[in-house]
Assembly symmetry: C2
Homo-oligomer: 196 residues x 2
DNA sequence: CAACGAGACGGAACGTTGCTCCGCTTGGCA
DNA sequence: TGCCAAGCGGAGCAACGTTCCGTCTCGTTG
């Protein structure tokens, strides 16, 4: 499940250390290119930035989704862990849900094109889809259940649908000053409120 | 502005009748392929379906956006005209707005991938973007203003932002049974309601 | 009716991407 | 030091958008 987070501990998985060094180099290069050109940047560009051949990329990360997951894993983990923390810290479950959704939106809009790719039905991004869902859906479900349990929101909302809707609203939020995804998400969350 | 809607009248624009016939053939073929494979179907496929060369497509429709606009022009016009009609027919402006948004959503979700392309920042779809905005934004603005005037909704909502948000919510609405764009749009519209 | 030319046609060709495959290099062990 | 598997690089293939130009045909004119 994880093989790129080795601290200063013992041995690791990859036999050869040049391979592991390349993997790190690739992650750094990919992160830089993603910021500069978005997550759909040509693979060749990433390889060039890292100073390696394309074969090296595909060996370490068989699909682009694997690379994206590796680059953003830390942030996604943090997001997942923020859910229960917010639930404990906030006055009401609804407030926690709102705060968490805000974090989610912040994450998406600051990652060039990630939202678009995330909703893409393009086979090959299945891994990415699955990772986000596996990691975040339970958290979102927990928040929604809590808010529904306290009677603050209508209870027939599905966490998958909500996350997908929020993700959709974040598409193209950068490079369009006339569109503020955060406000639209706020409206959506406001619409969740139990009528009356 | 229009050169494909000639009824039984006099002469038309294109000198050669084979050219005009080909244009019609292309529109029919494109509509069929769009239904079958989505609006991002390979240009070669459309050319093959129409039985013409690719040069012919690019001569009649310099960009893909031009082709899409031509194919859906009638439906967009109908949507634009439905706005004032609904405003006149419905009991409240808010009801008219809701009904109109529903029509908009119906249009988007039944057109394979149109919503995605519509929000794409990809240069080359600018024409498409511009056409939809030119035609529908005034209508939406009118509906929003009416609803705001009657005090039913908070008045600080921008028509562009709303349409963009709705369009975003419709992305990928087909081929995902777990996601119902209509419900998400309902939530968004519900969120528009003036608090209390 | 025949010749002509403007305009339309078709598809080969080019550039850009994703992805694979294979000969070469090199790290690490004996 | 020598060996060899793991790792590497990039050439190569396929799919796609787009352009370009030689060919063909419609409609007119003599």
């Amino acid at each position: 499940m994880n093989d790129s987070d080795e601290g200063a501990g013992h041995a690791a998985q990859s036999k050869r250390k040049d391979a592991r060094r390349n993997k790190e180099t690739l992650l750094d290069a990919a992160a830089a290119v993603f910021v500069a050109s978005g997550v759909e940047a040509p693979v060749r560009d990433i390889a060039a930035k890292a100073g390696v051949g394309m074969g090296t990329i595909y060996r370490h990360f068989p699909t682009r989704a694997d690379l994206i997951v590796a680059v953003y894993r830390h942030q996604v983990e943090a997001l997942a862990e923020a859910g229960p923390a917010l639930l404990a810290a906030c006055a009401t479950p609804h407030a926690a849900l709102g705060r968490w959704i805000n974090l989610f939106v912040d994450f998406l809009v600051t990652k060039h094109g990630l939202a678009a790719v995330l909703q893409s039905d393009n086979a090959g991004f299945d891994t990415l889809h699955a990772y986000f869902l596996d990691r975040l859906l339970p958290v979102c479900t927990q928040l929604i259940d809590a808010a529904a349990g306290s009677g603050e929101i209508s209870s027939d909302v599905d966490a998958y649908e909500l996350m997908r809707g929020v993700g959709n609203l974040c598409i193209g939020a950068d490079h369009d000053p006339r569109y503020d995804a955060r406000r639209m998400v706020e409206l959506l969350i406001a619409g969740l409120r139990r009528p009356h």
